[in-house]
Amino acid sequence: MRIPMCAARRAHRFIALPAVLCATLLLAACGQAGPSFHSTDISGAAFGQDFRLLDPDGRQRSLADFRGRAVIIFFGFTQCPDVCPTALIRAAEVKQRLGAEADRLQVVFITLDPERDTPEVLREYTAAFGADFLGLYTTVDETRTLADEFRIFYRKVPTGGSYTMDHTATSYVYDPEGRLRLAVLHAQDAESVAADLQTLLQSFSR
């Protein structure tokens, strides 16, 4: 299933981007030629510029660590039976579709649930989808700050003596120079995301 570019933009307007910014994007991208993406082109967006998070080995990570590779980030929690595995399976399929270019994409999973997603859980969880997938975390307070900066909505919802989480399922794609370029809706398939990454990677030499 392919999401028409402009339909994707309209859908995305409801969740993360202020209407004004998105209306501008609608005009800009639906009306002119240039690199065409299935995902929402958010090049030039002022949010989600960088992060400082810890990997399961306790090392600090930021976008600069992945320079030369495109980066796709997804925010979620490991006790999520549905959306989070689906997003990470798609990321794995995207890498597969990239073939020889697969090593030019870094998949990053950022937990919104650091209370339960310990470094050990994160490491095992991401490895189940891809050996080189990276799980990142920070403190509960910093997670809130980060999510706000990235326009990711999340909240705990009590259930069965425990809690689940509502959260934005949008993935973001950064180009090999660390610039935020694309917002990928949950409903997009691997084929369209892989095509977008191929388009993006083409304009950067190895």
């Binding site: 859908a11 995305h12 409801f14 969740i15 993360a16 490991t78 006790q79 999520c80 039976p81 549905d82 959306v83 595995p85 689906t86 990470l88 399976i89 794995a92 339960r116 310990t118 050990e120 859980v121 095992e124 969880y125 189940a128 989808f129 909505f153 919802v157 259930t159 069965g160 003596g161 425990s162 689940t164 989480m165 509502d166 959260h167 934005t168 399922a169 949008t170 809706l185 949950h186 409903a187």
Partner: protein, 158 residues
């Protein structure tokens, strides 16, 4: 006499309806150590209107029937009171829709094992029936529409 015959006819109809609730392709998503929740998925088909009202499993302290919905691109997951099983219609519990949520797991759910599940289905007449099944555990990275497995169901009565 006539009344008694009718009543037993209804009882027979109800029990045969239940006896035909089919569970196909059940599976549970594997977990990594210390991951305390996961989902069970399957297809349910009831020949008569019925409702899935409860699920139980010895592997989890809490089992709920959940609905996943996308509002815009925000994922929301909620426990629901029950799931309608319209006559003759295959109701899918699959990623992107409904699932049986296994919460507060007692141990890691490992690929290759199977998870015992009890489903409680209520007919229009309020009668409840239990369906016992074994759901194979599939890898954590199992996509939404994995290869179809065989049918697997066993019936029990209160």
């Amino acid at each position: 006499m006539k009344r008694i015959a009718l009543a037993s006819l209804f009882a027979l109809a109800a029990s045969s309806a239940f006896a035909q609730v089919q569970v196909s392709d059940p599976w549970v998503r594997a977990t990594v150590p210390q991951q305390r929740a996961t989902g069970a998925f399957m297809h349910l088909t009831s020949p008569a209107d019925a409702r899935l009202v409860e699920a139980r499993s010895p592997v989890a302290n809490v089992v709920e029937i959940h609905e996943m919905k996308m509002e815009g691109d925000v994922m929301k997951m909620r426990a629901i009171e029950g799931l309608d099983l319209p006559a003759g219609k295959a109701v899918e519990l699959k990623p992107g829709g409904y699932h049986v949520m296994l919460i507060d797991l007692k141990a890691q759910i490992k690929e290759g094992e199977s998870v015992p599940l009890t489903l409680v289905v209520e007919g229009k007449d309020g009668k409840r029936e239990q369906i016992e099944l074994q759901a194979p555990v599939r890898p954590l990275a199992t996509p939404a529409a994995p290869a179809s497995g065989g049918m697997q169901h066993r019936h029990g009565h209160h």
